[in-house]
Amino acid sequence: MSQGPLIPILLVSTGLFFIGMYGLFTRRNMITLLMAIELMLNSVNINFVAFNKYLFPEKLNGLFFSLFIITIAAAEAAVAIAIIINLYRSHQSIDVDDATEMKY
């Protein structure tokens, strides 16, 4: 690879993103849905770090971005779990297709 490892890393992150998206479309259990979302967030993290390292080595912006994304992902996962627990209490199930009250 005369161009360096950037493109493979980007391809890995793209693949991971779309794997996560497939999980988002397919999974019926809300917790597994959350897991797929975490995969997507991680792919974005890889992207940021890769760009920072290979295109802009003098700065640290990408690194900080991914740091903050990890933090926020943690907070978001916690809130999501809380919501899932609440939904479980009222619907007795965490199937995504059972929580369709917001329809027409």
């Binding site: 988002l24 479309f25 369709t100 917001m102």
Partner: protein, 643 residues
Amino acid sequence: MSNYAYVLWIPLLPLLTFVVLGIFGRKYFKTSAGIIGTASLLAAAVLSFNTAYHYFLVDGKVNGVFQKIIALQYTWLSFSPGVSVDMGIVIDPISVMMLVVVTSVSLMVHLFSLGYMKGEERFATYYAFLSLFTFSMLGLILSVNIFQVYIFWELVGASSFLLIGYYFSKPSAVAAAKKAFIVTRFADLGFLMGILILGFYGGTLDIGLLIQKLTSTTSPEFINMTSASFLGASMLTWGLTLVFMGGAGKSAMFPLHIWLPDAMEGPTPVSALIHAATMVVAGVYLVARLFPIFSMDPTSLTIVTYVGAFSAFLAAVIACTQTDIKRVLAYSTMSQIGYMMFALGISKQGGEEGLGYMASMFHLFTHAFFKSLLFLGAGAVIHMVHSNEMKDMGGLRKLMPITHLSFLIACLAIAGIPPFAGFFSKEEILMAAFHSNKIIYGVALFTAAMTSFYMFRLYFSIFWSKEAAHHDHHHGEGTWSMKLPLVILSICAVGVGMIPFSSFVTSDGVALETHTDLMFSLAPVSLTIIAISLAAYLYKTQNQKPDQFATAWGGIYKAAYKKFYIDEVYLFITKKIIFPLIGQPIAWVDKNIVDGFVQSSATVTAKISSSIKGLQSGKIQSYTLYFFGGIIALSLLFIYIWK
């Protein structure tokens, strides 16, 4: 020149009465509605007399010619710089004369109704409608713009509908009101087309300007109108004939006369006001208003003449056979209006030749008084006997002396016996006919004889024929409010003939010298006396001679009794031809296609929306799929297509 702006109050007072009685009458003015209506009309009548006095006797004349004064004018709706619908008041000889006629007859009717309609539940509504009608008629008379005439024309039609259908619980009254409205509305179609033609070619809707433009043979509008032609007749003829069609509908000329006999379903004072003196002469008034233009087109005048003459003759024949007294009077009205029409038709504009115009207006004036008197008298009789049929009446001369005397005066007037009013006006008409068209003169003479015959047939059948049956006499002849108008109108029926009418109302405003030619009058008066004697012979005492006469005439008598089957022809045309062939298909199109289109736009929208709403299923994963799809679409768009 005095300011005639106060004339605005003459139509305005009845309008205000209508509004007040219409809104508050049922609750607050249950019994006092009559007083209010009569009082406001008394004020309007006083104002009209004042106007007439000022106009005719004080300062209407300038250099011996009566001026046309525009008292008020207000541009209401402007279609283009020249053509606009103005609202205004015009004061000229015929409008002032009509003001006097309409307000005085309406006042008499209001007064009479105080007694006749007493105890009616919808008393206030009745007076409200009467005031509305008076307002509309006055507005029509004073109109300065032909479209304004049309507006008030329709208002008159609507108020007449309300009044004819006053007893709305009777199906025959409702049917009669519908018939009157539909027939006159159909005629108004012609009127509107005539207005549009005249307005288009004349370049204006103002009556004064129209007359100015279309009466000089050199004006561009006149040349345009007479050179453009359609199906062989010039546009001027078309315009005027269509306008006359509107007038013929309102004035019950053949063949649009079918509504007038049926309109007798309304209360009798209403018949006296509308179908004797005011609404039915609106057609004559219209032709008289536009007379200078009519006189430029001999074709349309010929049509006016022959329609009028034929209607007069036909109505007289039918009236000889009818047994309902109001029907007789209705046909008599149709006949007299035919007289007025053909008198206009044979007249020319200006000077001696304008005799027909003057005669027609004079006859209108006198006819209003004696015809309303006849109707009110008939009303008093009906009030007493509780029936309209001649066979239920007889020998009433002892029971109702005042009614008897006034009815007799009115019959003498309509028959044309001197010195009663009808004599003078009929003489003028016959003289004008004699000088221009001998055939029309002959028809008019014969019709005059028939008029006397059937009127006195009516008179003798009511007041002489047999001894009065013992009806309940407890309500006698009627209250003073029913007798007073009869007395006043009798005095008018005697006196108005003496008014030197020709010095006031003529075709061009210049006073006309007329005199009674005794040799000429000999023929009609003697024919009249023969007819009266014949009627007395047949009807003064009850005998078999009328029935023998009827069987002798056989088929013709039967046809005349059935009004020559004209109603049946109309029914056939409407029920068998218009309804199934035109009405039903159009109704089908309207219901299924037009309505269907509108409804289908609603159903289509609902279907589309219900199919779209399926997108919002509440399932998150569907939403994410759509979201992703949108992103892909946008990115394709921006990366590959719109660089």
